[in-house]
């Protein structure tokens, strides 16, 4: 269908870029910055090409732009790439957030004695691994990058993070995710053994669904646990506040904005089509976990004293909503969940950036160290409030649409007694208002903390660079808040295809696209 190997390029460009940037000498920090930014710009350009060439119609093949190159034949491990609407949205999010995160961290490293080229190389490597997980259409290939991405993020947190606990946070992040990944590995291998040595996603989906039963339940749990840790869902969330609190703001934006979406994306891409019966079996449990997550994380967020940890907890609450949306098994809810992933990336990404601006000025992320900061930083405070309101899904901002769809779909759902779920989850919105408004009030309003007047940074409002990088996010949040149709159009066909597995009518799936480049 398409002649250019665009998806391979999407993975290869940042990967090669990472190697090039890593080889730049430490003294040439500016060269490293601009090269890295250029590479991520090229990725954004490639993403735009994919988005323009993508077929958004309902009967289009599920995976598009497919490519496949033989790698390790003995395992059916091929470099197979393909993209659907859900992945497209997340790829756009990744390609958009990465250059913004780079710009956000542009000068942050000047004050610390850490290598600048290594930092940007790690960000590019992370981008490559994240894109690869969205684009892989081979289960083992997905697993490779799912695990490999831990390494750059581990160094970003442990080496470039802030605070006393950064090493602890990095190790906890790594081990928690590695454990999930290794349990998934058992399930991956068992799946492979059970189906006679197939890892190709399209082949697995086209084949007769797996027989319902114990094996399918265990395989589901193996996959799901890894994804639930990555997302993270309550009660597997404890690594996120530590990691999000310790990571430098740019990396935290990528961690919470994009990397965590891999968990929820993979539930849609792998758990539901491969193990539909088990998904239905466990749906009430997952929804229960999600509702608890929404309420619990919101309460804990209210009690936080550290801005970055607070934002991390709000994300856990939001992942609860996504969980409810996916496992309600209605078209509205699932579409809402996909939109939620995208919009949450925008809103939380923005929130982390603004918190990053604040902490680099004040040298602290403790809420108590602020107070009345809006007086000298009116614009920053305004953006902070905007990001907070977007994060609590104020109507007119993009997250509102997704949250509304999720709750609507959950309420209308016919599976698992969903009215109480929708009602309980709605309580989460009220709590969200509490933590956002209170956070804003304690930092920006109220009595001015006299210490702030002694800090030169606290008198400097947003610089041109900072304005330039929050502007696209603010605009996107507003545009998609009023006109979400493009997002819905992109997500809908893939969501419908996925839900066919729940209703058991997989014969209605569109025909697969012929694979280019054998």
């Amino acid at each position: 269908m398409n002649e250019l190997p665009l998806l391979s390029a999407l993975v290869a460009v940042p990967l090669i870029g990472a190697v090039i940037v890593a080889s730049i000498r430490r003294e040439n920090a500016d060269a490293a910055r601009w090269t890295a930014l250029g590479v991520s710009g090229a990725v954004a350009l490639l993403t735009a090409l994919v988005a323009l060439g993508f077929d958004y119609s309902a009967g289009a093949p599920w995976l598009q732009f497919t490519e496949s190159y033989t790698w390790i034949d003995a395992w059916d491990l091929n470099l197979s790439w393909g993209i659907d609407g859900i992945a497209l949205l997340l790829v756009i999010l990744t390609a958009g957030l990465t250059p913004i995160a780079m710009l956000a961290a542009w000068r942050d490293l000047d004050s610390v004695k850490r290598s600048v080229p290594a930092f940007f190389a790690l960000i590019l490597a992370l981008e490559a691994a994240m894109l690869a997980t969205f684009l892989a259409s081979n289960v083992l290939l997905f697993y490779f990058f799912f695990e490999a991405m831990l390494v750059p993020m581990y160094f970003l947190i442990g080496s470039y993070g802030t605070g006393q606990k950064k090493q602890y946070a990095a190790v906890k992040f790594f081990l928690y995710n590695l454990l999930g990944g290794l349990l998934m590995l058992v399930a991956v291998i068992a799946l492979w053994v059970d189906n006679g040595g197939v890892f190709d996603w399209q082949t697995l989906v086209d084949a007769d669904p797996m027989a319902a039963g114990t094996l399918q339940n265990w395989l589901f749990l193996g996959f799901f646990l890894a994804f639930a840790i990555k997302a993270p869902f309550f009660p597997f969330h404890t690594w996120l506040p530590d990691a999000g609190g310790a990571a430098p703001a740019a990396a935290a934006a990528l961690l919470v904005g994009v990397m965590d979406k891999i968990g929820t994306f993979a539930i849609l891409r792998y758990c539901i089509p491969l193990f539909p019966d088990a998904t239905k079996t466990f749906a009430p449990w997952v929804i229960g976990m999600s509702v608890i997550g929404v309420l619990y994380a919101a309460f804990v967020a209210i009690g936080q004293t550290d801005l970055k940890r607070l934002v991390a907890y709000t994300s856990i609450a939001h992942f609860g909503f996504i969980g409810i949306g996916i496992f309600a098994f209605t078209q509205e809810a699932a579409t809402g969940a996909v939109l939620y992933m995208f919009n949450h990336g925008l809103a939380t990404g923005l929130l982390f950036m603004v918190v990053g601006f604040l902490t680099i000025r004040r040298g602290s992320a403790q809420i108590a160290d602020y107070g009345g900061a809006a007086k000298t930083l009116p614009l920053l405070a305004g953006i902070f409030l905007f990001a907070g309101l977007a994060s609590l899904s104020l109507p007119g901002t993009a997250p509102f649409i997704s949250e509304f769809l999720v709750l609507l779909g959950a309420f209308n759902g016919t599976f698992g007694g969903n009215e109480p779920v929708a009602v309980l989850a709605t309580l989460g919105i009220i709590l969200a208002a509490a933590y956002v408004i209170w956070m804003y009030q304690r930092t920006m309003q109220g009595t001015r903390n006299p210490v702030l007047d002694e800090m030169p940074g606290m008198k400097r409002d947003l610089t041109v660079r900072e304005k330039a990088l929050v502007a696209p996010l603010v605009i996107a949040i507003l545009v998609f808040g009023f006109y979400p149709q493009p997002l819905i159009d992109a997500a809908q066909p893939a969501v419908d295809n996925t839900l066919l597995f729940i209703s058991g009518s997989t014969e209605d799936l569109p025909a697969a696209e012929g694979v280019t480049n054998e």
Binding site: W75, F144, F145, E147, V171, L182, W192, V193
Partner: protein, 517 residues
């Protein structure tokens, strides 16, 4: 026609060539010690050893399509030396790994005169001992190594218990001696040698006793015969149980499985690091080669009898090695416990029998390269004259010697089994084979153990990159081309087997059938 041929004994000399070459070179090495002037011995010995091992490797490759016995009487094979896929593959692996190990033994730049003394038995710290430490190291280590490697090659191709015993002694005795030759920390080195020797002697005694039991049960020491007897022998089955248990104890001792692992941390720490590398890579290959053959060829028919106990041992080994590794503060002890845990993973391959032979061999090769490189790096990081093995001393190495730190990071990630390293490919294929053999429980334990074990590896990486270096931090000595080659080869193999393992996977697949199974 000479007498032997008249009696109908045919010998496949080409098949025996790898071992013959190594043993002849070992004796040649002894002659070199006696004849060549001291100044030139090192060069001659190293070239002799490397050439012999390379020639042995070539001979193995030339034998690669053999599937039979080296000795036969009137066309009927007698099983003392068996040339089959696994045996030849492991011989080849041993040849390659021991070439690398010999290069590491020959490293002389990091410490003046090398890491070895001439006499192991001199009282530690006596005047004579201090004198010999000032001299150049002994070059007898090379013929000793060749004898050990020859023994290992024989061990993996031995088709009956008696030949296997001879090979076991042949590979063990030189190693006992090599362990005691460390130039620094003489007392610990001597302790290691003595401990290894005493426990090894016990293990050998167990082996002989077990062999007697099995002979009583089967009426033969031939592995295929024992297997047949497992089906139709009229003797009490108790003999079989005792025999299997005794033999297993001896071999699991060499393989360092829990609860026969106690010697491993002490010996790995006390022995000169190049010898530790040789043990961790080559002895492991030999021990598991032997275990694979004994259990696949000799005891497959009685699998029901030993399956449970071996499973228990595998679980204990995986968890024990991983948990004890977490608390280690010395890099050599950490690697020792990691080697124990890896023995546990390899035991899964043994328990899974026929379906996992190839994958177990792949694991052995992949692990061997990684661990040799790891010990090579350990021998480069030094406090003055001594190796800085205490982990705290490695803090901040990434700042002062980023190259070394990158190498260590790659090796640690490989040992932790991250994708794109040989550690992942090896674990993946081994666990996949085990699942095909319905060993789900063992695989889950293996995965949990890997997760635990990731912590100590990660601790090393944290120390390297995230901690500030101490003011008197150890230096990384620039290696001579010898140790440099070792590290480069190990790291290259670790990455290549992670990214393009296809050729080796195909090779072990073809070479996974034992004769007589």
């Amino acid at each position: 026609m000479n007498e032997a041929q008249q009696a109908g004994l045919q010998i496949d000399w080409a098949g025996l060539a790898p071992m013959v070459i190594v043993f002849v070179a070992a004796f040649g090495g002894l002659l070199v010690e006696a004849t060549v002037p001291k100044g030139r011995r090192l060069v001659v010995q190293v070239s002799l050893a490397v050439l012999a091992l390379a020639a042995a490797f070539v001979a193995v490759v030339l034998n690669s399509d053999k599937h039979g016995t080296a000795f036969s009487i009137e066309g009927v094979g007698i099983g003392s030396v068996v040339l089959d896929g696994p045996g030849l593959f492991l011989q080849g692996t041993l040849a390659i790994l021991s070439i690398i190990a010999v290069l590491l033994l020959a490293e002389r730049r990091t410490t003046r005169g090398g890491d070895f003394v001439a006499e192991a038995a001199v009282v530690a710290d006596s005047a004579a001992d201090k004198a010999q430490r000032r001299e150049d190291g002994a070059t007898e280590i090379f013929p000793l190594t060749l004898f050990a490697v020859g023994g290992m090659m024989m061990f993996v191709t031995a088709g009956d218990l008696l030949t296997m015993f001879v090979a076991l002694e042949m590979l063990s005795l030189p190693l006992y001696l090599l362990c005691g030759l460390a130039k620094r920390r003489r007392l610990i080195s001597q302790e290691a040698a003595l401990k290894y020797f005493l426990l090894g002697a016990f293990a050998s005694a167990f082996y002989v006793y077990g062999m007697a039991m099995l002979f009583g049960f089967a009426g033969t020491v031939d592995l295929a015969g024992i297997n047949q007897a497992g089906v139709d022998s009229g003797q009490p089955r108790l003999f079989l149980y005792i025999g299997v248990a005794m033999i297993a104890v001896a071999m699991l001792f060499k393989a360092a499985a829990v609860p026969f692992h106690m010697w491993t941390p002490d010996v790995y720490t006390g022995a000169p690091t190049p010898v530790t590398a040789l043990m961790a890579a080559c002895v492991k290959v030999a021990a598991f080669g032997g275990l694979l053959r004994v259990f696949n060829v000799g005891l497959a028919s009685s699998a029901w009898d030993w399956h449970l106990i071996l499973t228990v041992i595998a679980v204990a080994t995986m968890l024990g090695g991983a948990i004890f590794a977490v608390t280690q503060r010395n890099i050599k002890r950490l690697l020792a416990y990691s080697s124990i845990a890896n023995a546990g993973y390899l035991l899964i391959g043994v328990i899974a029998l026929g379906e996992a032979v190839g994958q177990t061999m792949f694991y052995l090769a992949a692990y061997g390269f990684t661990v040799i490189a790891a010990f090579a790096v350990v021998s480069l990081v030094r406090d003055g004259d001594e190796e800085a093995t205490h982990l705290a001393r490695w803090a901040g190495l990434g700042k002062k010697s980023p190259g070394t730190a990158v190498v260590v990071t790659i090796l640690m990630l490989a040992l932790a089994g991250l994708p794109f390293t040989s550690g992942f490919t090896a674990k993946f294929s081994l666990f996949a084979a085990a699942l095909q053999a319905d060993e789900l429980g063992l695989v889950i334990v293996g995965v949990v153990s890997s997760a635990i074990l990731a912590f100590p590896y990660l601790k090393v990486v944290v120390l390297l990159w995230l901690n500030e270096p101490a003011p008197d931090a150890p230096t990384v000595n620039l290696p001579s081309p010898m140790a440099g080659t070792v590290v480069a080869a190990g790291v290259a193999a670790t990455i290549l087997l992670g990214i393009v393992p296809g050729f080796l996977l195909d090779l072990v697949d073809q070479a996974s059938t034992f004769l007589n199974t």
